[in-house]
């Protein structure tokens, strides 16, 4: 008998039984709350692990001392013997008896509900599925003796759809059109409205912003220095675009987590991986780079846990999860998928549209740019691998170099071409004798050299009295070639440079700056340039001097060249590179090390070759609309081995681990899975968590609460779903609807459940039995997010710019907010024109000094993933919408918008009211506003606009306006 029972236990999932005590709903939460902290996977005090099926096995040896002991200890009255111990949360008497009964029945353990496979349901279209939702919600209400609410009024429904789908108030004309259609056929008008609104590009802004919370999107690095990330917006545009295009969620997942690993990825798929670059970067002085690299990988792991799996895997960084059976090894297995991904910068089109236009215009040559760019990227990716060897070489060369100053000898110029006439002088210099050109390029050829050349000295002599136009010159670019090859220059030193015209500017590829000497034009000057590769003796050098500065006649009148063969330590590599090489590798943070990468890219033969090809191709084309984007890429060379980190400390690596998914879930299909395999598995039919978790996230945006209220926690300690069957149904439907966000939302929005009124039915049984509305006997009223508060005010007043996408903007902000950033290292340059009034999601988000209008309304700080915002209700919010500049602007604009409309104040007030609230005001509301307007007019006298603004601001401040009802 015993044996038979035990065998029955073996399958992990025990389904229907008729036992008195249900493990999942009754026992597991108690164990999690009171016992597992000490009697869990890691600690198992007294050898007892209550999270393991082995425990059940023990129990089945019924009559074994262990089980008796458990029951005895939890029933004990002596505080020394009693479990849990006195310091811990005590069990109630009922809980004690439940556990005893459960043990008596055989202590059977079922799989936690969230890990169970999703039951198959027959596919249904949105409308049929909506009916199923209502059926399930209705059934549950009926069981509790509760009744659902009536459908909300048509105008409220329409406002609700607009707030939920676009985050914008509907235009008054659209409201009227809808009401007209609804009066004939509300259902049809309503369904049509959903479709119409989903086609708006603002849909992507609204639902993209939800995703950006999860992605912890921001425009700066975070931590002390918190440098701006000028390209971050490109990822935001990707999200908005993907949401607008209704990219299926499985693809949406794969591209963001592993777009770089797709076969032949498109630039857009590369941009998508910037999801992983929303982690923080610490460039504070003295930081250990490995520490923060590991930290970022952990953040990626934990974000994946929260957003897709609804699990707080973070605890398992340091120890196995006490409740959710996620071991520390499993954490690092998951982490290993990210551990081998490097942070890189890639070129991507500024936007798909711009690129398409460019490609259409420039054909195959434009297409080829991507291929050539990829080669450059690959060559650059190899630099970190080459660095140790390169570093040794440079150090050795410096050690070997003779530590003396360089001596120079005159180089003989055989030919000098220019747009004007030059004549050779006895001292081997050349002098301009012709008309002074506006701009000029000198091309100089030398006699074959008699010694090797390590450095070039360029001498420029004061212009004679005949050059009156300008005594100064600007050498915008200097190019030195040998054997038809451009030589890499470094360490430009001039005897004198005028401010902002530095010697190094002759080698930056830009014609609009350069080296100049204003203030000392009467003296001879020289510029010394070191060459990375020494040129052997016997070569002809070719020197090109460009003088293309915007001011005319800034050209030299007499020049001479000299060269040196001396190798000194300073001639080996530029000072800023040597400084980095002297720094311990771990302290070379991304900011510190950048000049080194830049220099290596200039001298590494592979990068140079690839760059040259790319530049040649680019030179034949107009400037392509490309930009740098921070993304990730797997390292191909010497991949990192992942080790478990003892207590999560990067300095305490332990055993090696291999990539794998969590054991509580179905395994990955591949034996040696990649990040791409992981992404595909996450959003597959096999993994029950992603559809449940993501469907619940979307549901929560429409109801204010998820069916699982702990949206981020589907683990044992999370809340159980209020409607388990419904949750599984919508999760399954999400898959059946092709992972389509739009179809999913439509399904929910078509339901009667969603369409209910949000009125509280006071005095009814519902308020008493279900005050929190978990059973959905009404809709919920939801205060909109901080960004949307702004959007609503600007839109209702007509100020809002409807421009979608593009770089972040800098709306008005109190000046001392940006000053709070570290060492005042950040200036907020307030945007002008329409960018002052863009939607809130485009506001530049600086992590250490975010815009107060947003944070006051609970906008998350973007340091961690966020799938559920807190909603507070504070006086600071009132002060913001009453007094802050943007909101005062909106009040005034709304006043102006209605001032010249209508026949009388009452109709104008009504219009202003409807711009904000869609519905028509009641007569008492109109009376109140009219009376305020009259009093305001008395105060302001002739300034009618001010009186109106004093009135419209009150409409904008109503609770109803910033609430989705």
């Amino acid at each position: 008998m015993r044996k038979a029972l035990f065998t029955a236990l073996l399958p992990a999932v025990v389904t229907s039984r008729a036992l008195a005590v249900d493990y999942a709903s009754e026992i597991q939460p108690i164990l999690a709350e009171h016992c597992l902290e000490c009697h869990g996977t890691d600690e198992a005090k007294g050898g007892l692990d209550l999270s393991s099926a082995d425990f059940a096995k023990q129990v089945l040896e019924s009559g074994s001392p262990a089980t008796e002991e458990i029951v005895a200890r939890i029933r004990h009255t002596d505080p020394k013997e009693k479990m849990p111990p006195a310091k811990k949360k005590p069990l109630s008497a009922a809980e004690v008896e439940k556990i005893a009964a459960w043990i008596k029945e055989g202590a059977r353990m079922e799989q936690h509900w969230a890990y169970r496979p999703l039951a198959a349901t027959p596919a249904a279209d949105e409308r049929a599925a909506a009916a199923r939702i209502d059926e399930m919600v209705g059934k549950k209400l009926a069981t509790e003796g509760l009744k659902g609410s009536a459908q909300a009024e048509a105008v409220v429904l329409y406002k609700r759809l607009n707030y939920d789908l676009l985050g914008l108030p509907p235009a008054v004309e659209d409201v009227d059109k809808f009401l007209d259609a609804a009066s004939k056929d509300l259902d049809a008008a309503y369904a049509q409205a959903i479709d119409d609104l989903m086609r708006s590009p603002h849909f992507g802004e609204r639902w993209g912003r939800h995703w950006l919370d999860a992605a912890r999107y921001a425009d700066s690095d975070g931590y002390e220095k918190d440098r701006p990330r000028p390209d971050a917006w490109r990822y935001r545009d990707w999200v908005i675009g993907a949401v607008n295009a209704d990219m299926p969620f499985d693809q949406f997942t794969i591209e963001q987590l592993a777009g770089d690993l797709l076969p032949d990825p498109t630039p857009e798929q590369i941009v998508a991986t910037a999801f992983n670059r929303q982690t923080l970067t610490n460039t504070e002085g003295g930081t250990d780079q490995e520490q923060f690299r590991v930290e970022a990988c952990m953040d990626r792991t934990e974000t994946l846990g929260t957003v897709w799996l609804g699990l707080t895997v973070g605890c398992a960084r340091c120890h196995s999860h006490k409740y959710d059976k996620i071991t520390q090894v499993e954490y690092y297995q998951l982490y290993s998928f990210f551990n081998n991904a490097d942070e890189v910068v890639r070129q991507a089109p500024r936007s798909m549209e711009e690129w398409k236009t460019y490609e259409a215009k420039n054909g195959a040559a434009a297409k080829q740019l991507a291929t050539l760019q990829k080669k450059v990227d690959q060559a650059k990716a190899a630099l970190p691998v080459k660095l140790p060897e390169w570093e040794e070489k440079v150090k050795a060369a410096r050690a070997e170099a003779k530590a003396t100053a360089q001596s120079f000898a005159v180089l003989l110029i055989t030919e000098l071409t220019s747009s004007t006439k030059w004549v050779k002088q006895p001292d081997e210099s050349w002098k301009m004798t012709g008309k002074v050109p506006q701009r000029d390029t000198l091309t100089i050829a030398t006699k074959p050299t008699t010694a090797p050349v390590k450095a070039i000295k360029l001498e420029i002599f004061p212009a004679g009295t005949d050059k009156k136009s300008s005594r100064n010159f600007v050498l915008s670019e200097l190019i030195i070639e040998a054997d038809g090859r451009v030589l890499t220059q470094h360490s430009h030193v001039a005897d004198f440079s005028q401010a902002k015209f530095a010697a190094k500017d002759v080698n930056d590829g830009k014609d609009d700056n350069g080296w100049a000497v204003s203030g000392q034009t009467e003296k001879p000057h020289h510029l010394i340039v070191q060459l990375w590769d020494e040129v052997p003796a016997g070569k002809t050098l070719r020197v090109t001097m460009k003088h293309l500065y915007k001011q005319a006649n800034h050209v030299p009148a007499q020049v001479r060249l000299q060269s040196s063969a001396d190798v000194t330590p300073d001639s080996i590599a530029p000072a800023e590179v040597v400084k980095i090489l002297n720094e311990e590798p771990k302290r070379r943070n991304p900011v510190v090390i950048q000049p080194l990468w830049d220099f290596m890219a200039k001298v590494d033969p592979d990068v140079v070759a690839a760059t040259r090809q790319l530049e040649a191709a680019r030179a034949r084309l107009p400037e392509p609309p490309l930009m740098d984007v921070r993304v990730i890429a797997d390292r191909a060379n010497n991949p990192r081995q992942t080790r478990l980190l003892h207590r999560g400390d990067f300095l305490s690596p332990a055993d090696e681990v291999q990539p794998a998914a969590l054991k509580v879930l179905p395994p990955l299909p591949s034996a040696k899975p990649t990040r791409l395999d992981l992404a595909r598995w996450l959003a597959s039919k096999e993994n029950p968590l992603t559809p449940r978790v993501v469907a619940n996230q979307m549901w929560s945006k429409l109801f204010g609460e998820g069916l699982v209220t702990t949206v981020a926690d589907f683990g044992v300690r999370g809340e159980k779903p209020s409607h388990p069957e419904l949750l599984d149904f919508i999760a399954r439907q999400f898959i059946e609807l092709g992972w389509s966000r739009k179809r999913f939302l439509k399904m929910v929005m078509l339901s009667k459940t969603y369409r209910q009124s949000s009125e509280y039915r006071v005095g009814g049984i519902e308020t008493e039995k279900d005050p929190l509305n978990r059973l959905l006997w009404r809709q919920n009223r939801l205060r909109v997010e901080g960004e949307v508060v702004r959007d609503l005010h600007l839109a209702a007043s007509g100020l809002l710019s409807r421009k979608v996408g593009g770089p972040s903007v800098f709306p008005v902000m109190p000046p001392d907010i940006a000053d709070l950033s570290y060492a005042n290292n950040f200036k907020w340059a307030t945007s002008t024109g329409e960018d002052r009034y863009r939607r809130g999601l485009y506001t530049f988000f600086k992590r250490t000094a975010p815009h107060p209008d947003l944070t006051t309304f609970d906008c998350p700080d973007a340091n961690l993933t966020n799938v559920k915002r807190t909603v507070s209700n504070t006086p600071l919010q009132a002060l913001t919408t009453l007094n802050s500049e943007t909101y005062a602007d909106a009040a005034k604009a709304l006043a102006m918008r209605v001032l010249d409309k209508g026949t009388d104040d009452r109709s104008r007030l009504e219009l202003a009211f409807r711009h904000c609230l869609s519905r028509k005001p009641s007569s008492s509301e109109l009376d109140a506003l009219g009376s305020l307007l009259n009093d305001s007019k008395k105060h302001y006298g002739k300034d009618e606009l001010a009186a109106w603004a004093a009135t419209t601001r009150i409409i904008l401040n109503t609770d109803e306006f910033i609430t989705r009802e």
Binding site: T710, T855, D861, S872
Partner: protein, 493 residues
């Protein structure tokens, strides 16, 4: 429902019926009560800042937390080390630095650096202060000096997160948030948690007064010490207070009409928030109007001092002396008005070089106002239940900083292994020195104190068992002291 929520709800009812302006609110309040809506078990439906009782009777009610950002040198202010002066210029044995990480020091050539300060014992307790803190020295008998603090972070921002929220992680509430969450606020006209800053801007920025996973109503509110003390406090240009009031009355009519239909308690909360905002518009300017303070008080705090001609750059631009003194005085005024937690921040004390000058400038700035604050609180009988903390994210090294091997050493690097903090009032033992460090100040030799212990003891003084002041987030019961912390009984008077 937990007892804490219960209390909120009860006091909330009282609040609505007694303190709101006008009949409308009273009517609304009683209607809510009648309809049983105030009993809706949702904290957001009530005033989350209502004062509530802690776990056990408290010794402290308010806190002024003076955060010296960047880490002042304990070896030049609080913890004299004659031996360090003796060993000046010598290297440490490799065994001591072997597994130690530094932010900037290059181990191979690092040398010990003595202090140029003069030291004396002060007060009846004979507590040491260096010559840079003559005023604070006179309040020696009020301070508990903890010399044996240590932390696990040696970079600023992570270290500051540990000091303020218990872990080098984002998204956690700061101490002020925990205390206002636990105790609410006594102030009806001002926020419960106020932040005052001076200097350059801290490494941590807004993350040092965040509320993390607690509702943002528990986040610190930044006050400025001149001009408009709170953002958006002033009405839009040309709108007088009378018209603001008139507008709010109309707003109340509109909101009440909606409430009559929807009965959503959140609407009542919104009405209350607008009323509080209106009161704050009067209360906050009154707060920063120092005209009511006597010339003697202004003099004592040094509110009108000018910056001295010291060659120092890290303490912030001109005007820091005035600004910091003003903040100290404002802190007292805030606490007087029932604000629970005042955070005074000054950046920066990160003296990697030019230590003597920089420290002289900063100490000169801080010394007189802090001493005045202690005396002032004491004279007014407020020190008893106001805890004043003087602290930083870590300390500074006995080794001189030779960044990049540079032999020109004039500063100290970050030192997490042993540093000093001070605390006064709130039932802590004045004139008491706790813990000790070795003869060069490298490590703790007696009574090591983790920052969690510090937090645990702080909470204890406010009447909280640090193990029980928790908030469940993502399946875990979080607390300020993370997974450790203990109450240090020896600190308690």
């Amino acid at each position: 429902m937990s007892p804490i929520d219960d209390t909120i709800l009860q006091t909330r009812r009282e609040y609505l019926t007694t303190t709101a302006n006008g009949l409308g609110m009273m009517a609304l309040g009683s209607m809510l009560a009648e309809n049983g809506l105030l009993a809706a078990p949702s904290v957001t439906a009530t005033d989350p800042l209502m004062p509530r009782k802690p776990h056990f009777p408290a010794r402290a009610r308010n806190c002024i937390f003076i955060f010296m950002e960047g880490a002042p040198s304990q070896l030049d202010l609080f913890d004299p080390k004659p031996k360090l002066n003796e060993l000046h210029g010598q290297a440490l044995p490799e065994s001591m630095t072997k597994n130690v990480r530094f932010a900037f020091i290059k181990k191979e050539t690092a040398r010990l650096m003595g202090s140029n300060r003069k030291w004396a014992r002060h007060g009846q307790s004979g507590m040491y202060f260096s010559d840079l803190l003559p005023h604070m020295a006179k309040t020696a008998d009020e301070w508990l000096k903890i010399r044996s603090l240590h932390t696990d972070q040696f970079n600023h921002h992570p270290g500051q997160l540990v000091l303020h929220s218990g872990r080098a992680a984002f998204g956690l509430p700061t101490i002020g948030s925990w205390l206002t969450y636990g105790l609410g606020s006594e102030s009806r006209n001002l926020p419960g948690y106020v932040v005052l800053t001076a200097g350059r801007g801290t490494s941590g920025g807004a993350s040092l007064w965040q509320s993390g996973f607690l509702p943002s109503v528990y986040a610190g509110v930044l006050f400025r010490n001149k001009g408009e003390p709170v953002l958006n406090l002033q009405n839009p240009a040309g709108l007088p207070a009378t018209l603001q009031r008139r507008g709010l009355d109309t707003l109340q009519v509109l909101n009440q009409e909606r409430f009559a239909q929807y009965k959503d308690p959140e609407i009542a909360s919104r009405i209350a928030s607008y009323e509080l905002a209106f009161r704050m518009q009067t209360a906050a300017p009154e707060l920063i109007d120092l005209g009511q303070e006597s010339p003697k008080t202004l003099e004592a705090y040094g509110v009108n001092r000018n910056d001295p001609p010291i060659k120092a750059t890290r303490g912030g631009g001109p005007g820091q002396y005035k600004s910091f003194a003003t903040n100290c005085l404002l802190a007292r005024r805030l606490v007087e008005r029932g604000v629970r937690f005042v955070s005074i921040m000054h950046a920066s004390w990160d003296h990697h070089s030019n230590l003597d000058n920089e420290l002289a400038y900063n100490a000169g700035m801080a010394d007189q106002p802090i001493a005045a604050l202690i005396r002032d609180l004491k004279e007014r009988g407020m020190l008893e239940d106001t805890m004043v903390v003087f602290g930083s994210e870590f300390g500074r090294t006995p080794l001189g900083e030779n960044r990049g091997g540079n032999p020109n050493v004039t500063g100290r690097d970050h030192h997490p292994f042993a540093f000093t903090m001070l605390a006064a009032g709130g039932g802590l033992k004045g004139g008491h020195v706790y813990g000790d460090t070795d003869e060069i100040g490298w490590g703790v030799t007696e009574n090591p104190v983790d920052l969690h212990d510090f937090h645990g003891t702080m909470l204890n003084q406010f009447g909280f068992d640090h193990l029980r002041l928790t908030h469940r987030f993502q399946g875990r019961d979080f607390r300020l002291t993370d997974v450790s912390g203990r109450v240090i009984k020896e600190w308690i008077a």
